[in-house]
Symmetry: C3
Amino acid sequence: MKKFTSVSDVKNLQEIIKKALHIKADPLTETEKGKGKTIGLVFLNSSLRTRLSSQIAAQNLGLNVLTLNAAQEAWNLEFADGAVMNGDTVEHIKDAIEVLNQYCDIIAVRCFAGMKSKEDDVNESILSQFEKHAKVPVVSLESATRHPLQSLADCITITENWKKVHKPKVVLTWAPHIKPIAHAVGNSFAEWMQEMDVELVITNPEGYDLDKNFTKDVKVIHDQEEALKDADFIYVKNWSSFDDYAAMPEVKGDWMLTNEKLAHTNDAKVMHCLPVRRNVELSDEVMDGDHSIIYQQAKNRIFSAQAVFSEILNELNAG
Amino acid sequence: MKKFTSVSDVKNLQEIIKKALHIKADPLTETEKGKGKTIGLVFLNSSLRTRLSSQIAAQNLGLNVLTLNAAQEAWNLEFADGAVMNGDTVEHIKDAIEVLNQYCDIIAVRCFAGMKSKEDDVNESILSQFEKHAKVPVVSLESATRHPLQSLADCITITENWKKVHKPKVVLTWAPHIKPIAHAVGNSFAEWMQEMDVELVITNPEGYDLDKNFTKDVKVIHDQEEALKDADFIYVKNWSSFDDYAAMPEVKGDWMLTNEKLAHTNDAKVMHCLPVRRNVELSDEVMDGDHSIIYQQAKNRIFSAQAVFSEILNELNAG
Amino acid sequence: MKKFTSVSDVKNLQEIIKKALHIKADPLTETEKGKGKTIGLVFLNSSLRTRLSSQIAAQNLGLNVLTLNAAQEAWNLEFADGAVMNGDTVEHIKDAIEVLNQYCDIIAVRCFAGMKSKEDDVNESILSQFEKHAKVPVVSLESATRHPLQSLADCITITENWKKVHKPKVVLTWAPHIKPIAHAVGNSFAEWMQEMDVELVITNPEGYDLDKNFTKDVKVIHDQEEALKDADFIYVKNWSSFDDYAAMPEVKGDWMLTNEKLAHTNDAKVMHCLPVRRNVELSDEVMDGDHSIIYQQAKNRIFSAQAVFSEILNELNAG
């Protein structure tokens, strides 16, 4: 694997899921693989699960880990090409990346959507600079439009939780929130589920349809109750409007996931990438109940990252 | 040892002090003990000594260390059970802990008293959530009411500095400060000293008596001069009022520890947990003088932590 | 090597450059040298290159690394001797250093000039406290008046890029900026180049001459065009006025380095310590062009640090 920023970087999804499950069974079989190599974990935004799981995964592979909280620990970054840097920005992202090239064998970066310019976000204004200027493999720790390490962990989790022969019905449901939230997790989940052997349905209020470039022909239902019927897995996530970018059009009805709503499903497992706003996105009873496989999902972030780093190290060690 | 949040988690205090002194003599005898295991050091508050000494201790035991400055690096935490999270908080502490369960073999946490609600602080509103939700051993890096790793280091330091046969007189003296300070170090020192073979006396201004649940039958003297007489060890620490919670009732006289006051002691050694406000809590001459064993105390924080982590690893490795 | 805060700590500059180049060729030949020893990297200011390159260098030597962002992670520091600490400062730098003595085998510290008091900065008000109170070797990660790890990396980079027999002409040129910037890099570069077999020229606008204590008899030319003529290396750096301390006297003409200016040089290589303000200090075309060896310089920060740490470990391991 040469880089990992979307599902298209995965040659064989079932293979990497299998690999991740092997790693989960025995995480310390490749402790020498990353010896003498360095991964830089660059955070332009907050992180708990991604931060810790990436560190564990890298350490399990014997990699040196450099964690950089760019905004707080280094310099205020300029992102505009050709900028005359006579303002608040101290270092151009290009130069920061070129320096990371000198120090790291793998560069992993978290760069959320700014939620101000649709064009900037859709074009991945930050990640694209990493993809352009990095001379070593780039791993996305969530970018403006995708969160692939999360999605891989989601695939692992669904695989672990589905032993029946028929395709599971997987419902990605919009959930309420109080602020305009990015589309990365929703987009990414939609994209990866289309590569899985599942029946994917998306449900969200009118005005909240995700970018068609990610959802393609997936059925979108604006009636949550109808969508949840017979669901085997429910993925809960908020996002703001894509069409009217980052707006929060008025929503009719109550979209918070509750036990009452779960009653109409096929004993569905509930998933969420975390952090979750309890009693806004989903109720305490769901979060703390038997249907939730949310913490298992969080744990699988380790094996998702470790599988990816391991694949990249294969490439580096062969190169 | 299954957890470490107060002296009651220590089966045999003299044994663990002895163990810590062995570690001090040779810190690298158990470098394989923590192999493949991970300790999470979660800081909800500032830290210098605790941060560094815990890292060193963990590394000496071969543990992977994940340090998380929760507020700056992760998400704004919600602490209230049942909260409808439609405000500033992004992740519930319960969920953060459940995720740490997935990633860590030991969770160590610093969660100071908020100094706003006596009830919250007395009930350890944050640490109690860790104790309730953690599925792995919890270590306190100072909580609302106790600082046990400090107290163990204090016991180690007193042991190192007392070779006579009679019981040393140990005086915990209140010191001036400019802000309302928590009771954790005072409480904890009182609690641990009652398990040591010492004569403990506490001295503080009227209105500043510590919580009786910690001081029990220890003699409290409101006249500092009288209390310090014949002291062998003086432990300097400020705290605010406990009765009138977090208030700073007016204090008569000068409570700063000076060389002049030391003259009336039995050549007493001076202790402080640091950080210390020089020329407010104690004078430069005391801090920089021969009586101070304060930096030795700081060094012993390594061996206190290492002894505790090692005991916990014994339990984990046996389990 | 007993400490590393200026060029005067280097016994033989050519030897250490040679050593660094050997390390660059094979960075992992001394992975056991620092085993069981700890380096504390203390940052009182922002850092990208220094932070990452020092960590890599230390890890390559098997050292444990403790990174402390002092302001954000620990306590607000007091620097004044004898201060009555009844204000905002919580811990005296002296005490922080004494504690670091207990925890670290090497203390590395970044402490920029405050740019408020010329006297404080010239006297290295912070670094001098480390030099006075540290009982273990001190390494400067840039102080008020010097940036020696950068300068050593600069010497390595010039050595790598000069194969001719005649002395290269090295021009340190002032560059525009929008804020009063410290003199450390300029001073340090001047100081180290005087120990190298080069012809050093400094060019800056009138009113911007560096401290004579660093530049000594080096020729200073106030006409950039004249200075750049036949240059083999150009080192671009801004600094504020030294005489009228931290002022920014009006500057005539355009001092930004451009390709047009490069045309009058001897095909000069361009250097900069980074971060750089593009299109203010130098143009995009220079930064992204073939003359720049700026990223190579950044990479050499690893080997500069590793050579220094290795020399210090020699001393510690012998001691």
